[in-house]
């Protein structure tokens, strides 16, 4: 089992000079829990930051990451990097005696890679804490409110230690499977294109096996050739059929012209290309015109320097390295954030343009190949018909090549030359004209009608055969790939299923405990069956998102925040976190809680202590608070804990930590000093008033209704109410009389509140204050249980006034 004996920070965050947080007491080497009081901005959080950085395998402090502060903000800004070190050191108590002292030192040269005192031992520590042992107030709120199902799952992954599994699930769902799907789509589009071409050749919208066989046999019948029984026979026979081509020079010429005619007919200009190019060019031009934006693209990398300037400089006015403007230091962060959002937009615009350009490049390359192919055909035709002209097509090819090597190669630098629509129309007209000339030539060389028909039929069947074989190949590849991808999906689904089963079983394991902890934090019998549920059938994030489900008045509600109040939700967040700690950090019984009681209503804060008392008494708890009343309460409730307070915090040094005393000890110390009688009186009054309120609340004593918060019950009213309640429920008990005894000093104590400034120190004698204190502490003792360290409460179901463990009963 691992606990912590000492946390040391030096030159880290708000702590400049070495500061130890000792978690042991003299004569006892076993670490204890600690409560540390400190006002806001007194350095408490520096210890939590230090601990988070120390325990983070990625060497990160998450909340600083969210504030865009990152590593540069980790060392104290006043350290001299040449002389001083920034480090966090933990002195461990390990029952297996494997771990002792470990230190993580900030590395000024490579700020993301600190120097570790022992790489091996740090790996042990990272693995030991499945759940990170520190919880901040804001994280509880964040978990319940600000997370979608997916984000909640990520947070649970973080708390419950299944981040690697989550990352793998995401890799499969968001990267691998979409890429395989895309491949299938590409193969499918290629098949559809081939089918369209075959359909065009056959002049039929249906291009099945029967149709091809039927059209083929139809042609064969014309030549009195025996028809084929199946497509295979037909495909095998077509090359034989092609041998019927006339062998005379006229026949060969007609064949050539017919083949060229078929190919030219299949060629089609991409008529949308000029518009797409114009649109792309216009997008780029608009982008280029915004010179300021383009300028900013070049300085995106300077953003890091901006943050560096923020964290290093000390002058009040700072030059923004992005825009060069002089800014007040306080406003610079906001300004840089605005600048960054603008830069982000510019970056997004640029990425969108680059995506369009990539699509254009691909279309242009395809078009260029097609045009190259048709020019080759025209060349062949020109050898037979020298008079044909295809200047427009050549011009089109030159324009396409020019764009490919020019503007599309560097759209933000090179000048674009648009392709005129007239040029594209010219290419189409040229094609029509050449087809006309081929037809005329075929007539002119006067082959017989039969020869012409035979040449056309041979060419048609040859092309049909080629396309059909291509289609068969494409179908085979698509079918094979689909089957293989499906086979991969079976592997993937099996693995995902196993991962999800693991996670569901972890959820089930913890659900029961969450319910138990929630019922300790909140005595709300209408909320039952709290569960963490994996969303398995919800859109894209199926299997990668989670929600909290519960029964509210016997109705199942998911997500839980639909019905729970803010305070109940906070309790739920705490219940989830504490459950994770209990369930998964079984070897490391150490938790740090940073001001988390703020997430609970004042009257429910005791329940957090109940939870610690009942379920985490064997844990080492380090609790930071800025609430003095709460601090005193913890000291009373857990007398075995170390109690310390941060007396002050200075930029040059950090926090000054001192041993804390209970209010009773503090009052007694002041009473021993004749110059501090008034302070003792003032402290006693505050103490009495606070506890009277607590007693009245605990015992359900009846107090007059308050219309406003500014009209609290007076001390006298509280005394009267408490006395009446005790008299009603425990008439003859000595404590009732003790209330009366303590109440006698109420006018003296009241003076310290109402007239503290005008009261002279001599108006009340030290003896009177001492007697008042004695009577009051006697009363406290009567109502306090030394066994469970709690004051008595009224239990309605038993109609009894007793303490939490039942050892002390007032009856």
């Amino acid at each position: 089992m691992i606990k912590v004996k000492k946390i040391t920070l030096s030159g880290f965050r708000g702590i400049l000079k070495q500061q130890d947080l000792v978690l042991t007491v003299k004569g006892d080497s076993i670490p204890r829990s600690l409560v540390l009081f400190g006002l806001n901005s007194s350095g408490k959080t520096s210890f939590v930051d230090g601990l988070e950085w120390f325990l983070s395998e990625d060497n990160k402090v998450e909340w600083l990451k969210r504030q865009d502060a990152e590593e540069k903000a980790y060392p104290h800004q006043a350290i001299d990097p040449k002389k001083d070190e920034s480090f966090v050191e933990l002195d461990f108590y390990d029952t297996d005696k494997k771990l002792a002292t470990l230190r993580k030192t900030y590395n000024q040269k490579t700020i993301t890679k600190p120097v570790l005192s022992s790489e091996v031992d740090f790996v042990k520590i990272y693995k030991s804490f499945v759940i990170r042992p520190y919880l901040r107030y804001l994280e509880v709120i964040d978990f319940i409110y600000n997370h979608t199902g997916v984000e909640k799952y990520q947070k649970l992954a973080n708390w419950m230690g299944f981040e690697s599994e989550l990352a793998f699930q995401e890799k499969l769902a968001l990267k691998i499977l979409p890429e395989l799907k895309r491949k299938k789509e590409d193969l499918d589009s290629n098949l559809k294109l081939l089918e369209r071409q075959l359909s065009q050749l056959m002049g039929s919208s249906i291009v099945g096996e029967t149709d091809v066989l039927s059209i083929g046999n139809e042609i064969l019948k014309t030549y009195k050739i025996e028809t084929c029984k199946d497509i295979g026979s037909l495909l095998n026979y077509i090359p034989e059929f092609a041998k019927l081509r006339a062998t005379s020079s006229v026949g060969i010429t007609v064949d050539k012209l017919t083949r060229a005619e078929t190919d030219i007919n299949l060629f089609g200009v991409n008529s949308q290309l000029p518009d797409s190019l114009t649109q792309g060019q216009s997008q780029v031009e608009t982008f280029k015109k915004e010179k300021e934006k383009v300028g900013q693209i070049d300085v995106i990398s300077l953003y890091d320097q901006a943050l560096s300037a923020l964290t290093k400089r000390t002058e009040t006015s700072v030059l923004c390295p992005v825009c060069g403007t002089q800014w007040e230091r306080g406003e610079l962060v906001e300004h840089i954030q605005k600048e960054l959002s603008l830069l982000t937009k510019v970056k997004q615009d640029k990425e969108a343009i680059e995506k369009s350009i990539a699509i254009l490049k691909s279309s242009l390359r395809l078009e260029s190949n097609n045009v190259g192919g048709i020019i080759a055909k025209y060349d062949e035709v020109q050898k037979i018909i020298p008079g044909i002209s295809f200047e427009k097509t050549k011009e089109y090819q030159t324009a396409l090549s020019g764009l490919e090597v020019g503007w599309l190669a560097n759209p933000f630098g090179n000048i674009a030359t648009p392709i005129a629509k007239e040029l594209v129309d010219g290419v189409v007209m040229e094609k029509e004209e050449i087809l006309k000339q081929i037809s005329t030539e075929k007539t002119k060389i006067q082959p017989s009608k039969e020869d012409l028909k035979l040449a056309e039929d041979i060419e048609k069947l040859t092309q049909v055969r080629i396309k059909w074989l291509d289609i068969e190949e494409a179908r085979a590849e698509l079918s094979f790939t689909t089957a293989q991808v499906d086979s991969f999906i079976v592997v993937s689904n099996k693995l995902i299923g196993l991962i999800q089963d693991d996670i569901k079983s972890r959820f089930n394991e913890i659900s029961e405990r969450i319910g138990k902890y929630f019922s300790i934090l909140r005595d709300d019998k209408d909320i039952k069956n709290i569960e963490i549920v994996l969303n398995e059938e919800k859109g894209k994030a199926a299997g990668r998102s989670a929600e909290i489900q519960l029964h509210y008045y016997d109705v199942s509600v998911k997500p839980a925040y639909k019905v729970l109040s803010e305070s109940l939700l906070n309790s739920l967040g705490l219940a989830v976190y504490f459950t994770c700690i209990k369930q998964f950090n079984q070897d490391c019984k150490f938790i740090v809680l940073d001001d988390i009681m703020n997430s609970l209503d004042i009257d429910k804060r005791d329940t957090l202590l109940d939870l610690i008392d009942k379920e985490f008494i064997d844990y080492q708890v380090v609790l930071f608070t800025h609430d003095l009343y709460w601090f005193q309460k913890i000291m009373r409730r857990f007398p075995g804990w170390i109690a310390k307070k941060i007396k002050n915090w200075k930029y040059e040094t950090g926090a000054t930590i001192d041993v804390a005393t209970t209010t009773q000890q503090e009052i007694e110390e002041n009473l021993d000093d004749s110059t501090k009688i008034e302070t003792a009186g003032w402290l006693l009054e505050r103490h009495v008033e606070g506890l009277l309120n607590e007693f009245c609340e605990n015992l359900c004593a009846e107090i007059r209704y308050r219309y406003t918060k500014n009209d609290p019950p007076s001390m006298e009213e509280l005394f009267v109410a408490l006395h009446k309640r005790l008299k009603d429920k425990a008439k003859n008990h000595a404590v009732t009389q003790q209330v009366s005894e303590a109440k006698k000093y109420e006018p003296i104590l009241r003076n310290f509140v109402s007239h503290a400034r005008t009261n002279s120190p001599t108006s009340v004698s030290p003896q009177e204050i001492k007697r008042a204190a004695e009577e009051w502490f006697k009363l406290e003792k009567e109502l306090w249980c030394d066994k469970c360290h709690q004051f008595v409460e009224y239990y309605k179901d038993k109609d009894s006034i007793e303490c939490g463990c039942g050892n002390l009963k007032i009856s």
Binding site: E57, F162, E163, S164, E165, A167, F168, K171, L172, L174, K175, I176, E179, L180, K183, A476, E477, F480, T481, Q484, V485, S487, F488, V490, V491, S492, K494, L495, L498, I499, D502
Partner: protein, 60 residues
């Protein structure tokens, strides 16, 4: 960060000999080396293409 749990599941899956062992190996490597999802997809497609070419050779 590789996952020991995933590694174990993949090992068990391979041991059961019901699923494609090459794909399981690729996923094991993806987990061990923490490679990019796109790289894993490219490797899977390369395996599929190789198998397709071989199937054509066997059934010309």
């Amino acid at each position: 960060m590789s996952s020991e749990i995933i590694k174990k599941h993949l090992k068990d899956m391979k041991g059961q000999k019901e699923l494609d062992p090459d794909f399981i190996d690729l996923l094991t490597m993806a987990n061990d080396t923490n490679e990019e999802g796109r790289d894993t997809a490219i490797k899977i497609l390369a395996v599929i293409k190789k198998r397709y070419d071989k199937s054509k050779e066997n059934n010309p």
